[in-house]
Symmetry: C2
Subunit: 368 residues, 2 copies
């Protein structure tokens, strides 16, 4: 098996699960949050700091790396792990989401998508086979199938066609795989329960190493997202990891864990950090706020990350005001550590059959 | 003694010296290079990475910290060491150089300088007593006197008046000191040998803990700078550290060490890093150059820094092209490490009475 999932424990009172995703580059305890390294780097970080945050696995983007520097260059530079300087597991997104959200003039057909690079306007083509080929060139531990992503809201007919095409491409992706790498299918179907069900049940029959729920966090809001997840997750194979793509805020993640989701990725901890917004167990802290000017408190009193052990809110406010990169580095390190701590605590609660209470307590404290 | 200098060895064939500057926050082996943390942070770094580079002492700027966040805020946040998250020794520039170069509408009189903040245009005053008072509030290990800096070229009369005023302010700075902190005098006098001599010999009679050569690296070029340094350094007390301010390129530093200089600071390793220019023992490497696109070589084959152990030139080129902060972080870490390695090797050569050969070899290899 290219990657293997060991289901360790199911919470007695919710759908939450604790497990381990085993890969050639190391084990990933789940629930797991994967920091996003879009262009081959987690923003405002270097890999040793990402590791220090406690992250076991990171995500990178096929779309961005295909445009620049190109998969041939990544391969020539030793493959994605050496290229990024990250020795742990890496999951790569297929590029589907980015083609539909970032590229201009994308035209989708049964064979794939034609689109123009958002960097230089060059014309490119991405089909399910090519997406797998590129990801094999990159050398990712877990590859994602190319899927057709629809915006929200989306008419039922369009959502159904995209879902059917996603299923078709899923099968072609499995056929295209030549390397001993993990491959995850992606459930689409917008917010239509019957489309989600059909997609989940069809993909569940295919020999994927894991299953993602895609097409969420596109504007439907936390309640509809929770409905989609609650409806979809239980229809995916119990012995395979479940990955909710592009999510998200701590509250959304905790709710999804309760529905049986095992993996997440999101730019929120890194992007918010650069915008001077820190995550804490007491909710968000806006570090540019003038009330922090003389605060000797760390970002989060209970946090053991190096940012919290080294600099005060007052210093961080100053560094943001002064435009110093150190501000982004420190708060990114903190936010990523917070996300990892959240996952670790959730996992512990699951192992103790206490996830429901942990979730309620945590959401209450955070004001989510 | 607030700070103490132990002269360990003088090279047999040149003016080069090896010593140790002892402070309350730790020892600094000399020759020493101090990375610049202008606004309370070394750019693109956090203090643990600065420490990893091997730096023992850093420099911060009174001018910038006075404007933002203000010395009262720095004191309220625990003083400069806690504020920056740096537990090692810190030298603070007095603000003289910045007032004359960055501030607008500066008017100098015998009492000090009136100027407008380059940030918000507010009117401020800095005199020798106030400069010491602010630096004591910051809590620096080594304070610098306020000096009057002149541009290059500068008429003799103006240079002489500024030099005389610098001497006057030097005495007032010593009188103003109330805390058990180091205080260095600064030799001015532009490129006029007799002015430099008079300033050096006058200051040498005053009980400073160290002596800086200021007013260099302002456009006079490496040859004139070397003349000024060769003429000035030997006139400073043998048992006190000598600090060449704002220098510099590796070649200028090695030449100055040969003239008996012990300390340096410069934005070059950090600024060049952000501009994709790396220092190596074989000279500068421009990392945006297309020829590095598929290079698996580290920045410098002989370097043991974490950047060189982790990422290739190809990856760094990509990260610069993609605008990722990781590029600046990695290359800053490397450049600072290179500067420290250069100082360490110079020190070793001095201890072995081999500095002349080391300097010639190194400059030759670097093409300087």
């Amino acid at each position: 098996m290219p990657v293997e999932f060991m289901l360790e424990h199911e919470d007695r009172h919710t759908g939450a699960r604790a497990g381990v995703l085993k890969t050639d580059h190391g084990d990933v305890p789940t629930p797991a949050f994967m920091p996003v390294g879009t262009q081959g780097a987690v923003k405002a970080m270097i890999p040793p700091l990402v590791e220090e945050s406690g992250a076991a696995m990171i995500l990178s983007n096929t779309y961005h790396l295909t445009l620049r520097p190109g998969p041939e260059d990544v391969r020539a530079l030793g493959g994605l792990h050496r290229f990024m300087g990250w020795e742990g597991p890496i999951l790569t997104d297929s590029g589907g989401f980015q083609v539909f959200s970032l590229a201009s003039l994308s035209t989708v057909g049964d064979d794939g998508v034609r689109f123009q690079s958002h960097i230089d306007g060059s014309e490119l083509f991405l089909g399910p086979e090519r997406a797998v080929e590129i990801q094999e060139m990159l050398g990712s531990d877990v590859m994602m199938v190319l899927d057709e992503c629809v915006p929200y809201p989306c008419e039922r007919d369009r959502a159904e066609r995209a879902m059917e095409r996603t299923i078709d491409w899923a099968g072609r992706s499995l056929d295209a795989r030549t390397a001993d790498r993990g491959l995850f299918g992606i459930v689409q179907g917008s917010t239509y329960p019957e489309l989600r069900r059909k997609c989940a049940e069809t993909l569940a029959q295919m020999p994927f190493d894991g299953y993602a729920i895609g097409g969420v966090s596109v504007g439907e809001g936390p309640l509809l997202m929770d409905e989609v997840v609650a409806h979809t997750a239980p229809r995916l194979p119990r012995d395979k990891p479940r990955y909710l793509m592009g999510v998200g805020p701590p509250g959304d993640m905790l709710r999804a864990i309760g529905r049986g989701v095992d993996q997440f990725d999101c730019v929120m901890p890194t992007r918010n950090a650069r915008g001077a917004c820190a995550f804490t167990w007491q909710g968000k802290v806006r570090l540019r706020n003038a009330r922090h000017a003389r605060s000797v408190r760390p970002i989060d009193d209970g946090c053991q990350c190096r940012a919290c052990r080294t600099v005060s809110r007052g210093t961080l406010r100053h560094l943001f005001q002064a435009g110093e990169m150190a501000a982004a580095i420190w708060v990114t390190l903190h936010n990523l550590t917070f996300y990892q701590d959240l996952m670790r605590c959730a996992r512990q609660a699951i192992l103790e059959d206490n996830f429901q209470e942990f979730k309620a307590d945590t959401l209450g404290r955070m004001g989510e």
